[in-house]
Amino acid sequence: MSQERPVTIAFDVMGADHGAAEVVRGAAQLTLDTPNIHALLVGDRTQIDEALATVRHNAERVAVHHTPEWVAMHEKPAVALDEKPNASVVLAAKLVKDGEADAMVSAGNTGAGVLACAKTFSLIPGVRRAALATVYPTAVGRGEKNDPFSLILDVGATVDASANDLVAFAVMGTAYARIISRNKDPSVALLSNGTEAQKGPPRVVEAHEKLKGMAGLRFIGNIEGVDIPKGTADVVVCDGFVGNVCLKMLEGVSETVMELAKYAYKEKLLWRAALAMLSGGIERIKEITDWEQYGGAPILGFNRLFIKAHGRSKARAITNAGKVAAKAVGNDLAMTIEKLLPGRGSS
């Protein structure tokens, strides 16, 4: 048995698209893959036990916290949390707050997860608003792992971010990229409608000024939307409104490309042959840019970490979300962010 410090991840096992069993399978795999990560499964015990019964796991590192309530995907978060104070996502957050677990993972209702965290966790001193971060595959590799993903934040948690919020997001993204992507000196950029410092709304211009002179992070200025897939910056900072629109557009573009490829496949024998010839390369690109290796999107800014896994996450993504959460906890992400914030210990 490993002597490493044990890290416990609370999994909200309910409400995901593929059901509790898929989340349990992911958490079970985590106990086999790693020597020190414990899984605290929060949800309906019958469903959890049924799923656990069929998968290999290490019961020494699995605990179950039963609750019959959970928030479904279609429910309005605020209403659901009021009506279900013992919902699995709320209990998971409380268990993290009480020190029973170190971080939380959920593949359920995103709004409910963010709201549960907001009601339960505290913001890191110096952070006014939390940010939802996500990774996006780019054309360049970065960090020790030659990671092709850049980090974009915020993509929906804070719609009306101020200049100071954007600065905090830059700090949070830098700390996260350093720990998770093992990128010692990640480049940070503000997303704007031009690369010039004066471009963009006042809050972006003001944030640019503040970031320009800031020690402890490598601010490279403004970038445009086209620079995101190019991988010009390792960390892309924007407010939640812009980030969400941008993310959805990028997702839409890739879906359209796939549709066009399907169309081409059906349309002409020559195009079909060309696609078949490219299939090896396409598979390789899919492997490199597989979002499941990141597991999910972190909610940054709270003193405790919440990884929001995609609603349609399969077991592998859940396992990786647990690993990412444990890595962030093991490297004390919250403390790293606090130290980097202006006037709080950055040098």
């Binding site: 048995m1 490993s2 002597q3 044990p6 416990t8 086999l32 414990h38 015990r45 036990d49 656990l52 019964a53 069929t54 998968v55 290999r56 796991h57 290490n58 019961a59 020494e60 590192r61 699995v62 605990a63 179950v64 916290h65 039963h66 029973e100």
Partner: protein, 342 residues
């Protein structure tokens, strides 16, 4: 003045060695050679196994019988290892594979049923009729199958035609089949086997063994076995705590792993509430040793939380008759099973 507790009948604890008592790897030829060449002090016991045996042996009239598939040539080194661990045994039966090889009985080299079943029955024939038994095996081979069949044969819950069909399916040689039937007929009917513990060396999901009924208890560690045996009145609370301390001191177990192990048994419907109460009482008594785990209130709180977080107690697993003919795949040597699965 309290009444003297009624002495229990002889208790026989039957243990397998590899992957049950010893941490052995022999999945590859290299591992097999390494295991064969290991000296006694290089062999590692499964955490808590020696401590559990010591506590069981200390609890009155008991007998420790070891039946292992290790070759007879390893007797000396295995005896030395057991002595190093402070384990005193009454029987140690090893497999004479050299003889099997010389006689060209290649199926017997890997076969488990044809080797263990007659040995178990012969040992039973020498035991008092009222002797109780607890058996320890693992999930790497056919232990759950062989032990369950042995228990049901002694209890006459399984018919002779079924036994014949099982032994034939397990590729047992005809003279060994005759040996099994002969010794079986000589054993007086009894129902001695109380528990069959299966050490989950391969982390097989516990539900896989549900087909063998609640007598078979898959365990992730020997703390779990100690807890169940406490519920079965084979161990006292202080003895269970000694096994727990051994796991903490020698194998890096901590409050989390121990309380999770405890909750795992609760979730499987094993009656643990009385056990928990007795443990709390024992922890609150004198015994500075417990501090090596954590302060006593922390230990109690950790276990209490695991109970509370489950809500209502689940129903105990239901007893069932075992349909051995539907489980023949479990009786075959592992290479055959792998082939069939592939």
């Amino acid at each position: 003045m309290t009444a003297e507790p009624k002495p229990h009948p002889l208790r026989i604890y039957r243990w397998d060695l590899d992957k049950t008592y010893l941490q052995t790897e022999f999945d590859t030829f290299r591992q097999l050679v390494r295991t064969a060449l290991q000296k006694a002090h290089e062999k590692k016991a499964v955490p808590g196994a020696a401590a559990l045996i010591r506590e069981l042996k200390a609890a009155g009239d008991t007998r420790l019988c070891i039946v292992s598939g290790s070759p007879t040539q390893m007797r000396k080194v295995l005896m030395e290892k057991l002595k190093l661990d402070g384990v005193e045994f009454d029987e140690l039966v090893l497999k004479d594979n050299l003889r099997n090889l010389v006689r060209g009985r290649f199926k017997a080299l890997r076969g488990q049923v044809g080797y263990k079943l007659p040995v178990l029955l012969e040992s039973r024939a020498r035991a008092p009729v009222d002797a109780e038994e607890v058996l320890f095996g693992d999930d790497a081979e056919a232990d759950a199958f062989v032990y369950s069949l042995y228990a049901d044969m002694v209890a006459r819950r399984v018919s002779e035609p079924v036994v014949y069909r099982v032994l034939e399916a397990a590729e047992v040689y005809s003279d060994d089949i005759e040996r099994v039937i002969k010794v079986w007929e000589a054993i007086p009917q009894a129902d001695p086997v109380r528990r069959i513990f299966i050490n989950l060396d391969r982390l097989t999901p516990p539900a896989y063994f549900a087909k063998y009924g609640p007598r078979v208890v898959p365990i992730f560690n020997y703390f779990q076995a100690a807890l169940v045996l406490m519920g079965d009145k084979h161990l006292t609370a202080p003895q269970v705590l000694k096994v727990m301390i051994d796991l903490v001191q020698t194998a890096g177990y901590n409050l989390l792993t121990l309380s999770n192990s405890f909750q795992d048994l609760l979730r499987r419907g094993l009656p643990m509430r009385e056990v928990a109460e007795a443990l709390v009482e024992a922890l609150q008594g004198p015994g500075a040793m417990f501090q090596v785990v954590r302060p006593v209130p922390d230990i109690i709180a950790a276990f209490t939380k695991r109970v509370a977080s489950l809500g209502a107690a689940p129903p105990p697993p239901k007893a069932r008759d075992i349909d051995y003919l539907s489980l023949l795949d479990d009786a075959r040597p592992r290479t055959h099973k792998s082939r069939r699965r592939s």
